[in-house]
Symmetry: C2
DNA sequence: CTTCCTTGGAGAGTGTCACTATCCAATCAT
DNA sequence: ATGATTGGATAGTGACACTCTCCAAGGAAG
């Protein structure tokens, strides 16, 4: 398959594909001659994943590159690779270390994880992006004057635990290996908007039930 | 309080506050003289909310303006206002109408809502942003070759329903009125990163339990 | 009073980042 | 042979959230 066909079948404009190639989000095609390269189904698949990460996951190009590098790194054990890929995924704004609200948030988060018995959640040694994400979110709420204590967060954490079970069930449908890692990344990222959308719909439904 | 003090207490640079004033994200201060204006606690509160919407919610300025306009619109009934504010909130990429994957996604979403009995979820007349968000997310997964049928989505929808109950419980702690609408907006937006972060942490925990 | 500093406001400029337009020489199709 | 197409490199575009610079009108210190 040539660049033009890759573009047609993926719906991504040719210059954009060239850009992704340049940024090493997409591996180069198999060179046929000095001016032609051949692309396979793997490229098509990878290209769609890239688009999903960038457009749906709103991920910066540099971050997407890291995630994809982890997905493809054959030198790692699949389980480790999965961890590395998901580890690289998001990370909004970093928690502001100078802010007392951040300290409060950190204590709340730690208490919550303690109560849930999530010992691996903070990551090994340094703190995981997910942990920082939670802390920074709580800190923002504290700053705005919303209480946001452990009791308030618990139902959210319990729902998150259910979600994780559903996630892992889906991931286990795939063969261990690159395919599974790719599925994990895709499902983690792509279910986010779906989940948030469903939450909004459920809110509307619940709101109507109570006040309607 | 003068602009300088507002800036110090909020941590937002003066030029940025001026920018928000220009963009009508922040109501103008009470003019004391031709060159001076006084700002109150309400301004500080609003300013922090603006930052939260833009930086945490990654919301474009224009969208934030709409949301805030709905929050402040005294001519509307609080319940309607709440709906209007949340309605305006985000909405990543629009579903691509020309794509067969979008049709599949729409059917899946409709079947899911049918099965759940969520009748208000699609919005009145036109489709709600949340519904479009869900459709576009499902379509992306279909395009990537992930099955994503009703059975697969159901556990997510059930968790979303639990989340909505928790959300509405929190919102009901506040007095009906602007305060409540503001709380609803803040909680909807600010709990998103927390929720997604908790999901990642729970995934790590669950993954460790299964493969660790 | 006068001199200096600060204030709020307005317009233009900056940085970032994902993408796109333009060229170019080599090569393929006819 | 010859015109179109390909992949690759370089530079440009557009959107957007700020941020800089200037200005005239007040206020404050001497």
């Amino acid at each position: 398959m040539r660049l033009a066909e890759l573009s047609e079948r993926s719906g991504v404009p040719i210059p954009t594909i060239k850009y992704y190639l340049r940024e090493r989000l997409l591996p180069p095609g198999h060179r046929i001659s000095a001016t032609q390269a051949e692309y396979g189904e793997g490229h098509l698949r990878r290209l769609r994943l890239v688009r999903a990460l960038i457009q749906v996951g709103r991920m910066p190009v540099a971050t997407a590159r890291e995630v994809l590098a982890a997905v493809t790194d054959d030198s790692l054990d699949p389980h480790v690779r999965l961890g590395a890929a998901v580890w690289a995924i998001p990370h909004g704004p970093e928690p502001d270390g100078d802010d007392p609200a951040t300290d409060t948030a950190r204590r709340t988060a730690d208490a919550l994880l303690e109560q849930l018995g999530w010992r691996f959640a903070q990551g090994t040694g340094e703190q995981s992006p997910a942990y920082r994400m939670v802390v920074s979110g709580i800190a923002t709420m504290v700053r705005l004057g919303y209480p946001c204590d452990v009791g308030q967060l618990l139902p959210y954490a319990r729902s998150a635990a259910e979600l994780a079970v559903a996630d892992l069930d889906l991931v286990e449908r795939y063969e261990r290996g690159e395919e599974q890692v790719e599925a994990a990344v895709a499902l983690t990222v792509l279910y986010e908007p779906v989940l948030l959308g469903l939450r909004r719909l459920a809110q509307a439904e619940e709101s109507n039930r109570r006040f309607g």
